[in-house]
Symmetry: C2
Subunit: 293 residues, 2 copies
């Protein structure tokens, strides 16, 4: 199985659910909804919802039952990008080859669009049909915890603070684990939980996604130095411009690449602990290591 | 029963749950959590959680079972204030007699504090113990819908847009119904839903809170012209300064006051449709009409 097969299987459902929850319209006061749709439907890789669906299937989940929760996790990811791009945060003008949300709609509407995405995410999650109510509630609590003040948001705070003072490798790793791994962990864990998996599976999924997230973020660091603006969809060298310490600035390109490979292999090793067919998740892991954008 | 009795009965539990979910600490990267705690624990009236608890009790809910959901709705309210005060929105420097969140912690941390409050709200809601899981999920969906793009956030968009162009009474009323009533509706409805009430009760609670919210917002308009900065905790006359159309600017103080009274009486009349003891909710309704801040 290739990563292309995985995306071909999962993406149509994910895109359909995202469009269901956010579509553009002509109402006079629909600017925040349109801004949310603009950012949500602009062709992200959809790693998090695919991860959720694949862990759901791996643990015995049936059919499209986790689709709304998968859409929810992509909304949480998109809200974090919209708010992160704002002038008071990273002040990024471009995202996925288009003007970032506040450049296209203004700061006030972009702020509200992010809020709307986060709010709608929990509505979509609560509407999940293919799982027991207790499992959906547990998954909502996990998503909120991993996205919140002791997870992704803590990572954002670390990012802001470490930009202002020189940071060491341990701090950068800890920041990546919060900023990037946490939401991937939520995706993997919620897939298992919704399928009714036991706590050992959920904790395996969490460990897998922690490694995957670290590798993912290091590859992001590398692409920020080596990619092409047209392929990446945003300016190259923004980390250096912003004075950010990254794995590349700390260890150099070669060692950073080797570390990403090591972490990716660790993630694959954890996959072997599962009993079912992990070929889709293995293909996804390798694809993320070799991606060009 | 007086409003004081109601607050005395409900506030200790609400404050205890809010402190449980957000407490200040000394961690190096805890600034967003501390900023959230600063705004959340700075003495709001707690109308929404009290409303939720009272409807929960009215519909037969037992003990402290809805406490976490009540805390959740206050977190949603507080996040909306924190983001609404930001420079790209209303740009307000004072809130509840203290510097607003971004004045105390900076714009970036205030943005993340609002995000953290909204995220943690759904975590708290999902942890609700005193109700069936199906009911908790339904309540989460209602809360998200009323707080989202077709509710409170739509009201914020209307507020921004109507500030830039002269607005009529119908538009202002519609804006108030979204901006202020929607979250009160969520509080009242979720109280009923968590107690296992039938859909007729839930819809009655919704109609009650729609009227209460309109009256509440008109009283806010009046207080913005007539109150004392020290009592109100924020500058007087900010609506006029911001060029906002309000019930007072449209109809004058006297007619605005009469309309608030009419709406408050309508709300009380809807309470009479319930079978149980509505004296607490009646006292609360009258207190909100006569409040000085």
């Amino acid at each position: 199985m290739t990563a292309n097969d995985v995306f071909s299987a999962d993406l149509p459902l994910i895109e359909e659910r995202l469009k269901y929850f956010f579509s553009e319209n002509n109402g006079r006061f629909s600017s925040a909804g349109n801004a949310a749709a603009y950012s949500l439907l602009s062709g992200g890789k959809r790693i998090r919802p695919v991860l959720l669906l694949e862990f759901y299937k791996l643990c015995g989940g049936k059919g499209t039952g986790a689709a709304d929760f998968a859409a929810a996790i992509e909304m949480v990811h998109t809200y974090s990008l919209v708010h992160d791009d704002l002038p008071c945060m990273d002040n990024d003008d471009m995202r996925r080859g288009k003007p970032s949300c506040h450049k296209a709609f203004g700061e006030d509407i972009a702020l509200l669009a992010g809020d709307a995405l986060l709010t709608r995410a929990f509505e979509a999650a609560a509407l999940t049909e293919g799982a027991a109510s207790e499992a959906v509630l547990r998954a909502i609590a996990v998503l909120a915890e991993k996205a919140g003040i002791s997870g992704m948001i803590k990572g954002q705070v670390m990012d802001l603070m470490l930009e202002k003072s020189p940071a060491g490798g341990g701090e950068i790793k800890d920041m990546y684990l919060n900023k990037t791994s946490c939401l991937l962990e939520a995706a993997a864990m919620c897939g298992c939980i919704l399928a009714g998996a036991d706590s050992r599976c959920v904790s395996r999924a969490e460990r897998y996604a922690a490694m995957l997230g670290l590798a993912f973020q290091i590859i992001d660091d590398i692409l920020d130095c080596t990619s092409d603006e047209k392929i990446l969809g945003k300016p190259i060298g923004s980390d250096r411009k912003n004075g950010k310490t990254t794995y590349v600035s700390l260890y150099g390109l070669e060692k950073a690449r080797a570390e990403a490979e090591r972490l990716s292999l660790k993630a694959e090793k954890i996959l072997c602990e599962f009993e079912g067919d992990v070929s889709a998740l293995r293909a996804l892991t390798e694809y993320l290591l070799d991606r060009k954008y």
